[in-house]
């Protein structure tokens, strides 16, 4: 695992830690996951963990456009 990948996992884990305990995430037929489960998957970098990291990466990549759109429509 590269340093960039390790940093990304740390970032995603930090994000997940801010998620309230009462929330869960449904990822289709892969199941439903609470915060603690998701953090374990991300740290293990298994398929579920990799999916959550992909979601975060796509979010970060789209943030510039989304923010611009939000400001234009505010």
């Amino acid at each position: 695992m590269t340093d960039t990948e390790k940093n990304l996992i740390e970032l995603v884990v930090s994000r997940l830690q801010t998620m309230p305990e009462n929330l869960a995430i449904s990822i289709g037929s892969k199941g439903t996951f609470k915060k603690k489960d998701l953090i374990k998957h991300v740290k293990k970098s298994d398929p579920i963990g990799k999916k959550i990291v992909r979601v975060e990466l796509e979010y970060l990549r789209s943030l510039k456009n989304i923010t611009r759109s939000a400001l234009n429509n505010a």
């Binding site: 998620m19 995430i25 979010y59």
Partner: protein, 216 residues
């Protein structure tokens, strides 16, 4: 006057399908108000035999699937395959399809268009949503899940309002964007902040294949 025939599948065997089922009720109510011919395949009725029999009987112009799926399959009760890209994809011929399930617009959707489906709207990746575990007994009251499911269900609502498939897709994209904007520009709480990335994910992976100007 033309009355569209519609099939809605709503399995309800786990938390995810219970949520999809609960949030599809407003769409079913809307179809009933419009006096469309609607057959709801609920719970165990969402099985391959019943689905095939209903399609042959009513020849639907619109099928709204709620459930699980993957790149090549849409499933019903207990994840029984209702449509398989390699087995019975012709069952979608001449219909407009909206699939609220994971990944089916990746392979099954494009293949169905080649086989004569008019329009296929679905998701090329997993449909992800956040829900409040304190609301699982009343999913319809879960406003967090509602941000995801009302945006996605806008496709079906717009189609029932006699809009084109292309416009229904745009309406749903706009519904996602409206919620994302409101979360970004408000003083968001932790739960709202958690939601944005998954709303963006669903919005980006929703796709409309085939003819964009058909109506149900």
């Amino acid at each position: 006057m033309h009355k569209p025939a519609i099939i809605v599948t709503i399995p309800s065997h786990d938390d995810t399908t219970r949520y999809l089922s609960a949030w599809s009720k407003s769409i079913i109510r809307l179809a009933n108000q419009k006096k469309d011919i609607i057959v709801v395949l609920k719970n165990k009725q969402a099985n391959p035999k019943e689905f095939t029999k209903t399609v042959e009987k009513i020849q639907p112009s619109f099928i709204f699937f709620n459930g699980h799926g993957n790149e090549t399959t849409i499933t019903g009760h207990n994840n029984q395959p209702l449509v398989d890209a390699d087995i019975n994809i012709e069952i979608l011929k001449n219909t407009i399809v909206y699939t609220l399930s994971c990944q089916s617009a990746k392979k099954l959707g494009p293949k169905s268009i080649k086989q004569g489906t008019k329009t296929y709207i679905g998701y090329t990746e997993d449909f992800i949503f956040i829900y409040d575990t304190k609301k699982t007994k009343h999913p319809e009251k879960d406003k967090i899940a509602g941000c995801f499911l009302s945006s996605s269900n806008q496709v079906a609502a717009s189609l029932l309002e006699e809009k084109t498939t292309g416009q229904a897709y745009i309406d749903s994209q706009n519904a996602f964007q409206k919620i994302i904007r409101s979360l970004l520009t408000s003083e968001s709480r932790a739960e709202q902040s958690s939601m944005i990335r998954y709303l963006i994910w669903d919005m980006k992976h929703q796709t409309c294949l085939g003819n964009q100007s058909t109506k149900i």
